[in-house]
């Protein structure tokens, strides 16, 4: 008897399920762009989103970027926005963990229906969503990473980089080492992913295949680098190039100091911000970071852009510590505003891509933006900064890197126009 009632229940359940399927078959789930309008764009707002580490091992260096970008967008919104639309910037924490990135980016695209993902941060993290974004035809702008993966217009038509690539920075740093400190033994300490690999590629572009005396790597999941630093010391390195995120730049420098070793440090822009490193190295910073060399392509401390950004930071970012991340975040936000402005009165994703590849955008970097139909690389050049008396600024050496050559160029930042608001 009981057996039969079970069979009944199962049959009933299956029947209900079949009915559900039949009913719901009429309502195919909404595609991301369904509803006629452009995702994320209304009469008076444009919603964009990002993934970035606000917690975890990379937060110490990068949490300020999205805050600075948000501050710039607020400033922009208070001054009329772009074509009368204000920008709503949704920031989601992924803890620099690719698994989290996948979840939050899906949420941004499918739940929050963002117009574009802007400045998603990190090489391993962003690599895990680049296929998803391009399959869903979501503009994937200004990735916060110097990996060259972002510059593949054929394979990833929706993805655009923002940083000068690690290959460019590696070549510029190696060229500066050769020019300013000839004959020194150059070594490299890099992250165990494409970040480190591409920095090596750039360095060897200048130094030759056997030019690096020693190479050591680290994984972000293991915050003990004494073995690697010890090996570099033993190899007799005089210049150590750092392919590191800020936390690991500080670890490397601190660990070397504990071993009583002080080589010259040459860092990439992503792990070199003086204010961030000072915060991590505390009282020892002025001594350990004196003469610290790094590559960069964003406006220097003495430029008009920094004056403007500093004002915005005071007013819209609660006067948070002003560092390289602030300049980076606001410059990126400015570039997005410029691109959105160029997309016209009624922005669509196609118009945005059109504007980006038109070659008309300038940005505020060390060289004019290089975006075109065939290239999604933002800045193919890097300048050299050195820390002197606690101030990190350009020393006037700037290198443009091409496939065959590393060439010293003269560079100047574009002037600030219209108070840093793209003309309406």
């Amino acid at each position: 008897m009981e057996h039969r009632s079970h069979v009944h229940r199962v049959t009933a359940a299956a029947g209900v399920a079949a009915l559900l399927v039949a009913l719901a078959a009429c309502s195919t789930p909404a595609a991301p762009s369904e509803g006629g309008g452009v995702p994320g764009v209304t009469e008076d707002t444009v919603t964009i989103g990002t993934h970035t580490p606000l917690t975890g091992p990379a937060a110490a260096g990068y949490a300020g970027i999205s805050a600075a970008a948000s501050a710039y967008f607020e400033y922009l919104n208070d001054n009329g926005g772009v074509h009368g639309r204000s920008i709503d910037y949704i920031v989601k924490d992924d803890g620099y963990n690719p698994a989290n990135t996948q979840t939050v980016v899906r949420e941004l695209v499918q739940e929050d229906k963002v117009f574009a993902i802007v400045n998603g941060l990190g090489t391993p993290t962003h690599l895990s969503v680049i296929d998803f974004l391009n399959q869903n035809e979501v503009p994937d702008l200004f990735v916060a990473s110097g990996a060259s993966d972002w510059n593949q217009p054929e394979k990833y038509p929706y993805t655009f980089s923002f940083n000068s690539s690690y290959v460019v920075e590696g070549a510029a740093l190696a060229q500066y080492a050769t020019d300013a400190h000839p004959g020194k033994k150059v070594c490299l300490f890099g992250q165990d992913d494409s970040f480190g690999a591409e920095l090596i590629e750039g360095a060897e572009h200048v130094l030759g295949d056997d030019g690096l005396v020693a190479v050591e790597r680290y994984a972000v999941s293991n915050p003990d680098v004494s073995a690697q630093i010890g090996a570099l010391k033993t190899a007799g390195c005089e210049i150590v190039m750092l392919g590191t995120i800020p936390g690991f730049s500080a670890l490397a420098i601190g660990t070397a100091a504990q071993l009583g070793w002080s080589p010259m440090w040459f860092a990439t822009s992503v792990g070199a911000d003086y204010v961030t490193l000072s915060g991590l190295l505390k009282d020892a910073a002025p001594q350990l970071l004196d003469g610290f060399v790094s590559a960069n392509y964003m406006p220097g401390i003495s430029s008009d852009w920094v004056k403007l950004f500093s004002t915005i930071n005071d007013e819209y970012n609660d006067g948070a510590v002003f560092d390289g991340n602030t300049i980076y975040g606001m410059s990126m936000a400015y570039l997005f505003a410029e691109a959105l402005e160029a997309s016209g009165q009624n922005p669509t994703r196609e118009a945005l891509l059109e504007a980006l590849t038109s070659g008309d955008l300038t940005g505020n970097g060390i060289v004019p933006l290089a975006f075109s139909k065939d290239s999604h690389e933002a800045y193919p050049a890097a300048g050299i900064q050195v820390v002197e008396d606690g101030v990190q600024d350009y020393v006037g050496s700037t290198y443009r890197v091409t496939d065959d050559d590393v060439e010293a160029i003269d560079a100047a930042f574009p002037p600030v126009t219209e108070e840093g608001i793209p003309a309406n």
Binding site: H3, V10, A25, P29, A30, T55, A99
Partner: protein, 387 residues
């Protein structure tokens, strides 16, 4: 008490489990039509997690062995899937063939590790076993870094995307297709697990759990039973990890941390140890609760939200765990059985004294809450029981 562990080895018994499994699977498949893509992604994630938690709940609830390494087993399944899928992509195999072979690869990898671990586990108990499984979980990240050439370090492995089959392409979205696959795999895996739990082996597991010496005196080869339990739970976790890899087209060590492993244990305990439906509830909870909390904290000021978003879910899980253990020791799945006293039920059907379908959900004997298992085994060091 003894009645409760009697298996339903009759054909009707296992047939009913399969029928139920199929019915629930069909309902879940139908439900995907009501959900938007992101909710379908979440459903797929729940299904993948369900595989692992169901395996764990049988391992801990039925065989009495505690494992903190379930996330590691998922990771092994995920890496097995990714490596096989990438190898197949390299030789031009794709579509269903690639999926099936890669699933086999993932399950085989986790099964192999589960077997090795099970052989060791059969000789260990309590804190010693927990320590071993803990070590496996912690080893995942260093192993992927050390063999970076194979596993690609922290960045993990990416696999080619499997798009919706052309026949269905106009009808369903990508995420719905992924949810279907995840639900189907979970349906097969969990039904097989429930059948195992209801078979003679399941009876032997519970006998081993309750009193190993008595079980051995009754002729049960307890060592073998423990290995089988470990193997079953590893294989289900591996299937879950492979499905997770299929859904996200990636596997990385960051997804399978110690915290996640503990979360799987929490899911099994909150749901109700030994209970398959409890495992489903627990899986849904660990996927949906952090997401809900994040949604709620987003309304708060940015800095406070940032501080809370990572920690609040963990705090809530802690509170929930205490609450559930204090009020419903059989977990969430046990709550609904309360209004139906078992005695009445048996009285109404005297011819069928053995458990019916509810036995799939049979929680461990109330007299022995399994949470206390670990605690109880602390004083009983191995030598005490090895007579």
């Amino acid at each position: 008490m003894i009645r409760r562990v009697r298996p339903s080895t009759t054909k009707a018994g296992s047939g009913r489990i399969i029928l139920w499994g199929a019915a629930i699977t069909v309902i879940a498949l139908g439900a995907t039509f009501l959900l938007d893509p992101y909710r379908n992604f979440q459903l797929a994630t729940i299904a993948a997690t369900f595989c692992a938690v169901a395996g764990l709940t049988v391992l801990v609830g039925s065989s009495g062995q505690l494992s903190l390494g379930q996330a590691a087993m998922m990771a092994v399944g995920g890496y097995g899937y990714a490596l096989t899928a990438n190898a197949l992509t390299g030789v031009g195999v794709d579509g269903v063939a690639r999926f099936v072979l890669a699933m086999i690869g993932g399950i085989a990898a986790s099964g192999l590790l589960g077997l090795l671990l099970g052989l060791a586990a059969a000789r260990l108990r309590g804190p010693y076993l927990a320590g071993l499984t803990l070590a496996i979980t912690i080893a995942i990240a260093p192993v992927t870094t050390f063999f970076s050439g194979v596993f690609n370090g922290d960045a993990g492995l990416q696999i080619a995307n499997d798009s919706v089959p052309p026949i269905l392409a106009t009808l369903i979205a990508m995420e719905q297709w992924q949810a279907w696959i995840a639900i189907l795999v979970a349906g097969v895996v969990v039904t097989a697990l429930a059948s195992l739990s209801h078979s003679g082996i399941g009876l032997h597991m519970r006998a081993t759990r309750d009193d190993e010496t008595a079980a051995r005196l009754s002729g049960i080869r307890t060592g073998r039973i423990k290995v089988i339990a470990f193997l079953a739970s590893s294989v289900t976790a591996g299937a879950g990890g492979a499905v997770a890899c299929f859904i996200t087209q990636a596997v990385s060590p960051g997804a399978y941390t110690l915290a996640f492993s503990l979360m799987l244990v929490v899911a099994a305990v909150i749901g109700g140890l030994g209970s398959i439906s409890g495992a489903a509830l627990g899986s849904a909870l660990i996927v949906l609760l952090p997401w809900t909390v994040t949604l709620m904290t987003e309304a708060l000021p940015a800095e406070l939200a940032q501080r809370l978003s990572g920690n609040l879910p963990v705090l809530l899980f802690g509170l929930l765990l205490i609450l559930v253990m204090a009020t419903a020791r059989r977990g969430l799945a046990g709550i609904r059985f309360r209004p139906r006293p078992r005695r009445d039920r048996r009285a109404s059907s005297p011819r069928r004294p053995q458990p019916d379908s509810a036995a799939a959900d049979a929680p461990p004997a109330a007299s022995e809450p399994v949470l206390e298992l670990a605690v109880q085994s602390v004083p009983s060091a191995p030598h005490e029981r090895r007579k």
